[in-house]
């Protein structure tokens, strides 16, 4: 794509391991599973999956002042903390952050599901809006995360809120990439956030796509594994600072990687069933834009969520596009499917893998499905690996298929 070069200069994370990148990386590299049973979900008639990877409880009062916090549901709190961390790591000063040259693009599946539940419990069955607090709407509106982060950080640039479930953060990254490359913004804070909630897991469980391996909970999900039985939903926020290359260099910022391509293709075949051809098309588009060929690619951070169909489709797409040589793993074995946050958290982790020159395996993967046998699937322990060119795939219910190419510079 013509235009200015776009690099990443900051990362922030709230994950099922806790708040901050340090605990996130620690959990990932130790190969610990944060998946737990949600006992209160067992009362819900018709729900048979009680597994999740929620963000561990913490008190946001000390971290975010009330005047910003009063309009934030949990996902907006995660997004704000991750954004603050990313901006801090990037060393963005007040002038840069609040002067109009920095914008925000943060997506989530919907507004806060826990707040929707709170609203409807009060509203129904008698239809009353007595006792509605002023912050209620702001916690459930579609752009809750981006609006709250913009408010808390004093953003005067462009505010965007791409909502596309599992690809929300990937779309935010793609959008930020385009806005910086075009020169509309010098810096973009990009990523996504989501919460764990019974109604979210219900979406997958009703389709028989949610894992029901409760005993023990910490061996699921297992992407690519022949015994996999579905997704486990996770929560958190993953945020990146995208910056125009010259701007980053001139202020001596540390650069993690350059974004070289964003492949973005819609699958109109079926609203829920994944299509290998379309996934491959997204990867090929990203690679073409990045000017890379299959031999250049060192690693693929897969979307693979642990579903029967999705993992196989992606496996075929990778085989079609890159052959069987390239190392592949999915972080969903570790953090579950963080939905709107997935692309953000997985990119934060990917950049750390590049920095440490260590590729993480797919957690819980013991025996790959026959259908993906030809692939170089990483299992067991992290493996030493120099990665210069990597792909980050994310695909969503509803047809959005994305692939990002990052290159070390």
């Amino acid at each position: 794509m013509s235009g200015k070069r776009v690099v990443i200069t900051g990362r922030g994370a709230v994950s099922p391991y806790g708040t901050g990148c340090a605990v996130f990386f620690d959990g990932l590299w130790k190969g610990e599973s944060p998946v737990v049973i949600m006992p209160e979900w067992q009362r819900i008639s018709g729900l048979y999956s009680y597994l999740a990877a929620p963000v561990p409880d913490f008190d946001p009062k000390k971290l975010i002042p009330r005047k910003f916090r009063r309009t934030m549901g949990p996902m907006s709190i995660y997004a704000t903390l991750a954004s603050m961390e990313a901006a801090r790591e990037a060393g963005l000063d007040k002038e840069c952050l609040t002067g109009g040259e920095t914008g925000v693009a943060i997506g989530s599946t919907t507004g806060s599901p826990s707040v929707f539940e709170e609203f409807y419990r009060k509203f129904l069955p008698d239809e009353t809006v007595e006792d509605m607090r002023s912050g209620m709407f702001f916690k459930i509106m579609g752009h809750s995360c981006s609006a709250n982060v913009s408010l808390a950080l004093g953003i005067r640039g462009e505010q965007w809120a791409p909502a596309s479930a599992c690809t929300s953060a990937a779309q935010a990254l793609g959008l930020g990439y385009m806005l910086v490359a075009s020169g509309r913004q010098k810096v973009m804070l990009c990523g996504g956030a989501d919460e764990v909630h019974s109604t979210v897991t219900m979406v997958f469980d009703v389709l028989h796509a949610a894992s029901r391996k409760h005993d023990p909970p910490f061996m699921t999900p297992s992407p690519f594994d022949e015994e996999r039985d579905g997704v486990v939903c996770g929560a958190g926020a993953g945020m990146l600072v995208l910056e125009e290359y010259e701007h980053a260099v001139s202020r001596g910022a540390r650069i993690f990687a350059e974004i070289k391509g964003f492949g973005h293709v819609n699958d109109c075949g079926n609203v829920a069933a994944p299509g290998a051809d379309v996934m491959a098309a997204a990867m090929k588009k990203a690679m073409k834009e990045a000017g890379v060929v299959p031999d250049d690619v060192d690693y693929v951070s897969a979307h693979a969520t642990g579903t029967e169909q999705g993992d196989v489709a992606e496996g075929r797409a990778v085989a079609m596009t890159l052959g069987g040589r390239v190392a592949v793993s999915s972080l969903k074995g570790h953090i579950g499917h963080a939905l709107g946050a997935a692309g953000g958290l997985e990119t934060v982790a990917l950049l750390e893998m590049m920095r440490r020159e260590e590729a993480l395996p797919t957690l819980n993967l013991k025996r790959p499905d026959r259908a993906v046998e030809g692939l170089n699937l990483l299992m067991g322990r992290p493996v030493a690996k120099r990665m210069d060119v990597v792909l980050k795939n994310n695909f969503a219910l509803g047809g959005v298929n994305t692939s990002l190419v990052f290159r070390r510079i």
């Binding site: 009330r66 007595e130 006792d131 509605m132 607090r133 002023s134």
Partner: protein, 74 residues
């Protein structure tokens, strides 16, 4: 008020001005009414006189008056 707005009790003198001193805004005034209704177990959201409230003392006088009126009506 202390709990709802995370204020210090010492800030709530009778003459403390809600908007200029305690930093409340229009969204907060909505939540303040909800909190007071809960605390005093009585609806007051549509009372005209709410709009005149500017200080902590005004709130106290308003509630006292409301409770007296409601008691008389009962």
């Amino acid at each position: 008020m202390v709990e709802e707005f995370e204020l210090e009790e010492s800030e709530l003198g009778m003459d403390a001005r809600l908007y200029e001193e305690l930093g409340l805004d229009s969204l907060d005034s909505v939540d303040m009414v909800v909190a007071l209704e809960k605390a005093f177990d009585t609806r007051m959201g549509q009372e005209e006189e709410l709009r005149e409230i500017r200080t902590v003392g005004d709130i106290c006088r308003f509630i006292e008056k409301l409770q007296k009126e409601r008691a008389e009506q009962a």
